[in-house]
Chain length 355, copies 2
Amino acid sequence: MVHNFNAGPSILPKEVFQEASEAILNFNNMGLSILEIGHRTDAFQSVMDEAQSLTRELMNLNAGKEVLFLHGGASTQFFQVPMNLLDEKSGAAYLDCGVWGTKAIKEAKLYGNVEVVASSKDRNYSYIPKGYSIPDKASYFHYTTNNTVEGSQMHAIPETDIPLVADMSSDILSTDMDFNRFALIYAGAQKNIGAAGVNVVITDQEILGKVSRKLPAMMDYREHIKNGSMLNTPPVFAVYVCMLTLRWLKKIGGVKAIQKLNEKKAALLYDTLDQLPLFTPTVAKEDRSLMNAVFTMADADLEKAFLATCKANGMYGVKGHRSVGGFRISMYNALPYESVEAVTDLMKDFANKNG
Amino acid sequence: MVHNFNAGPSILPKEVFQEASEAILNFNNMGLSILEIGHRTDAFQSVMDEAQSLTRELMNLNAGKEVLFLHGGASTQFFQVPMNLLDEKSGAAYLDCGVWGTKAIKEAKLYGNVEVVASSKDRNYSYIPKGYSIPDKASYFHYTTNNTVEGSQMHAIPETDIPLVADMSSDILSTDMDFNRFALIYAGAQKNIGAAGVNVVITDQEILGKVSRKLPAMMDYREHIKNGSMLNTPPVFAVYVCMLTLRWLKKIGGVKAIQKLNEKKAALLYDTLDQLPLFTPTVAKEDRSLMNAVFTMADADLEKAFLATCKANGMYGVKGHRSVGGFRISMYNALPYESVEAVTDLMKDFANKNG
């Protein structure tokens, strides 16, 4: 039995793997692989249409929202967002909560003034800043909903009247919220939506076209909207895996249902960590992520021993990010509760023997 | 029996589909899918390393060449190339041989002066211009080696002392040539190299860093080189499919061997077209593409009937691009000779009945 706690690319539902594997040999009984069909065929158009409409349905999006599946990962969005939205006269406001937010800020600065409204860098991004104010003249306010590396998560949508832009790469579709409050959402697919190599971008038409700079066609959201997310050959297989994963999420009850499971998994993991003095969660209690639990041990030798124990028990992806150290257990949508049971049992056992 | 003449995404070797399908269920006997492993794992690092080294080996590249597998398709390269290379003082020179070259020119103009040295637009891109001169002060000279839509191909590398940049999306690795003569080569993978959603970029270090504009990290080739083509999460599965396809190409004898097969396939197809007055190839004889054969029929009703006959015989992707009309038979590396025999037999039969 293998348990996959990878931070991304990460676990997807078993039935998605099964169907994707079959489609590579014979897609839709066409006698062709999904890898060798034209993207302008009816067969692939149906895939794109269903991926878009499932996204709408699962996120309960207003009719005015556009759903795109674009090349690249969130790192591409770090510059594509300001390229499209950052008006040089008004600038943009950013919240700095972790390495990904920091990278987004760096790219935005290429396009104009960026006001960092708050940062948790002072304590190695171990909490989410509160009590900051968002300037009301900025083009938009950008934040990262979940900090994959540091293990913190925003548990409420900030109040502001300016357009909200969120990087939801590592927690999209994991918790129910009013997704319509965002002017633009982007997410690299390789955590909760599908395979690496595609971005989901959800945007309002009305925020686009307000900057004066000229945009390359591939970077212009309006061009992608106009072309139904097929301005060029899309990452066909990655979009197909998104569609399968979205189908699975709908089948098991949608975002509300998965939220319950995610809360149950996180409760078991954090309760165990809190009960075992051997392990120290690094993030402020109220800001802990339901997706990525980060923790350390006081003793470096014990850390090595615990990592070896995890490995010996078929547990992948437990090692923390090099910038934080320690451990990281990622509990994305597709991770079964049993995997969290397995790792918490292992923790208790390890603590008994070494505590 | 199915024959896949799709122009891209297009046919790949059967054994690639088989291995890719298995890796989605169980990659390297890890008990994990290729879709759920981290890109920083040894397992994926080996995939990236092998994809890069096979590219080097098959193209006989000098040590100074860098091989990258980047997000997006050629359309992304249309602006990434000038962003990195087009010096505003010197401009760039482009050859206009088809819809893809035209798009590349449009994007390049966003970054500086573009001199179009020659164009075959006057005759609907049905030939390759000759006898043009390339300015010796331009930052680079850009051309499309094979025009997928129109069915023409450059059969020699232009002579110039300025850096050569080529879009080889639809004929890379199909014909032996001195790939080291190019300062930069790019190719969307979804024809001869692998699955949609990844670009192969081969570049010299020395041509980079000469422009003054600031580049977003994801657009800066130097950043990708520095990070071993893993600046961010790469399109993992698409890179894996490239590796499998490159392995297959090496196994069957490499570029020289596939060139012979490609010439044999193209000879059979064009000879048949030339012998049957019912069909009219649209491209000048000396400029015909080994990859995409484009032809029309004088009678629109007969065109419909021929298309229906192809469909009834399990032939996919025969319809021409909407900008050219008629038919297009794509004969990429992985297309078996038997498929060309099948379609030429069908043509002869159809001509007998309707000629």
